[in-house]
């Protein structure tokens, strides 16, 4: 089980960071959200995995480590606040700068490349 769990965390991390490295704000936001999932799972894992441990007293003799759970809860909330802010910031930057590129303007080389692509598309279709 632990192996699979770790695998999931790893893959979420990978996907998240890859998307964060993209050039458009919305994609970056999605990436950040994925990362926060990974982070929460990771933080949760620091308390080890318990299948049927109780978080509430008196349910069973086995207890899951409650502290990481509390930490993850805090992390989730803060993560939510941050995601919300960055999303609106993305909208604001689109409004102010007229595009949703993370640098506020699309670099020349990219524009050139795109025009080439679109031109080729026209030829094909």
């Amino acid at each position: 089980m632990e192996g699979v769990y770790a695998l999931c965390v790893g893959i979420l991390t990978t996907c998240g960071f890859f998307l964060v490295l993209r050039a458009r704000t919305f994609t970056v936001v999605i990436g950040l959200t994925l990362i926060s999932y990974a982070v929460n799972l990771f933080l949760f894992a620091s308390g080890r995995l318990k299948l049927d441990g109780a978080a509430v007293l008196g349910q069973s003799a086995e207890y899951a480590d409650p502290l990481p759970q509390a930490l993850v809860l805090t992390a989730i909330v803060i993560g939510f606040a941050m995601t919300a802010f960055v999303v609106i910031l993305a909208m604001r930057s689109r409004a102010d700068l007229g595009n949703d590129h993370v640098d506020g303007q699309v670099p020349e080389d990219v524009i050139a490349q795109q025009t080439k692509v679109s031109a080729s598309d026209k030829r094909n279709g």
Partner: protein, 502 residues
């Protein structure tokens, strides 16, 4: 007075919240009055706290009466109280400056400002590493909101970079915390410090990874090369009072490095002793160089100031990397000096840019300024201070750091780095000054007058420069004691066994 240690957090928080409610929320003047008076009280409180911890030893405030390491404890020792006091003084300066009008350019300035102060103070005072994360987030989210204060393309643009980079940083912070809890099994910094030497081989490697990841996070805050890229444009874009307040932000990173990597991974952490140092040496050195190059390259005074921040960060971390009491003490003195003066410099840059029309604060020929003499004097003092020329505080900090390096092999690159950076600043700033003040065309057209508040604010921060020289002896005494306290941990970590009042 048993609650003194928590006041620097609760006071700004309370003020901020109250300012969101009637009767303050709709009257900027009430907010100003309230905020400024609160900040003055905060300064007094911080000063009291500093004296208390100075005379009666480290104050530990146990929240909810839950013994550390189980509950969260605030640790008000010499270092944290010093930082808190520094923050509130800088805060007052920035706030006064804002009250001259900047605070009207957007909503929630004063509440956000207070929240920012709360976050910074919390980060300085807390003795619990997850709580440190929480306060990091508080001060970050506040800074995100403050950064766009005033609006404009530049701010939005800079903010996107700043926010995204810091969000990545925060998630790395959490990864690191997960690792540390998963290996050490505790969150209280002192307790962790006690447990780290006892870790097994398997755990050690993991904990080391955690510790180094924390270095990344703090390095990002502190603008340590190669994580400094966000700083120049962000600081240059921020409105003057915000930029001035941000002068403390990099110090939060540096402080955390001092705290975490000198306590948890300090000299007596066994196999994990001072894991950060081998990285700090080269990076701090390169940071200084890069900062100096940036200073030379800066086309405007704001950018110059921003790059000066980077230089100071490099210098500080270089001193910290020395891991000597003398060096740490020197670093602390330098930190006080650089924080306050950089803050003032951002304000001066703002004054200048408001008086020179389109040229703003760029180094080009422009129309004459209105209050040339006044601004000129302020700039002159600030310039001498940051360049490290006598008779102002800069040279003392510099010399202390140079002296601290005596007898180390690293001296062969510490000295050249610090001295040459000083020379670069001298060249750059003398060019800047002569251009801005002397290469003016025609007479000043604008009747743009300077609000006395702004002058008071700048005077307040700049006065630190001569005062730090005149009272150099008491200040250095204090920093020496602080460094001593930091370097031998025995007095501080008693509480994990004794504990406070339950």
């Amino acid at each position: 007075m048993q609650h003194l240690p928590i006041l620097p957090i609760l006071l700004p928080m309370l003020v901020a919240v109250l300012m969101l409610l009637p009767p303050f929320t709709n009257s900027i003047n009430r907010q100003r009055l309230f905020a400024v008076s609160a900040m003055i009280i905060l300064i007094i409180t911080s000063a009291l706290l500093l004296l208390t911890s100075h005379e009666q030893g480290t104050q530990i405030y146990i929240l909810g009466g839950w013994q550390p390491p189980f509950g969260i404890a605030l640790v008000a020792d010499r270092l944290s109280t010093l930082m808190v006091l520094l923050t509130s003084v800088l805060g007052l300066g920035a706030q006064l400056y804002a009250c001259a009008g900047e605070d009207k350019e957007g909503m929630y300035f004063h509440p956000l400002f207070m929240f920012q102060i709360m976050g910074v103070n919390g980060a300085f005072l807390t003795g619990d590493i997850f709580n440190l994360f929480v306060f990091f987030e508080v001060l970050l989210i506040a800074s995100y909101a403050l950064l766009i204060h005033g609006g404009g393309k530049q701010k939005t643009k800079a903010n996107v970079h700043y926010v995204i980079l810091n969000l990545i940083g925060s998630s790395i912070f959490l990864f690191a915390l997960g690792i540390l809890y998963g290996t050490i099994g505790s969150l209280n910094i002192e307790d962790m410090a006690n447990k780290v030497p006892l870790l097994g081989e398997h755990q050690q490697a993991l904990a080391k990874a955690g510790g180094l990841l924390l270095l990344v996070v703090f390095g990002l805050k502190a603008a340590l090369l190669p994580l400094h890229f966000w700083l120049p444009k962000t600081y240059a874009a921020a409105s003057a009072p915000v930029a001035a307040l941000f002068a403390i932000m990099t110090k939060v990173g540096i402080y955390s490095i001092l705290r975490v990597h000198m306590t948890i991974f300090g000299e007596d952490a066994g196999a994990l002793a001072s894991i950060a140092v081998p990285w700090l040496w080269p990076l701090a050195f390169l940071t200084i160089i890069m900062g100096a190059i940036g200073v030379l390259a800066s086309p405007s005074l704001r950018l110059t100031a921003a790059n000066l921040v980077i230089v100071s960060v490099g210098t500080l971390l270089l001193a910290i990397a020395m891991q000597r009491e003398a060096a740490t003490s020197a670093a602390l003195y330098y930190m006080i000096h650089t924080t306050l003066v950089t803050g003032a410099l951002f304000m001066i840059a703002d004054l200048i840019s408001k008086q020179r029309g389109k040229a703003e604060d760029r180094f080009v020929i422009a129309r004459k300024m209105n209050h040339e003499k006044l601004i000129g004097i302020a700039f002159f003092i600030a310039a001498l201070t940051v360049v490290g020329m006598p008779p102002f505080s800069g040279f003392i900090g510099k010399i202390l750091i140079l002296q601290a390096a005596e007898g180390m092999t690293e001296i062969v690159w510490v000295w050249p780095a610090v001295l040459l950076a000083g020379l670069a600043c001298l060249v750059a700033i003398s060019r800047a000054g002569t251009t801005i003040f002397w290469r003016s065309t025609g007479e000043s057209t604008s009747a743009e007058s300077i609000s006395p508040l702004k002058i008071i604010a700048i005077a307040l921060l700049l006065s630190a420069s001569p005062l730090l020289v005149v009272f150099g002896d008491p200040v250095t005494d204090y920093t020496n004691l602080t460094a001593a306290q930091l370097h031998d941990r025995t007095p501080a970590n008693e509480f994990t066994h004794t504990g406070g009042d339950q």
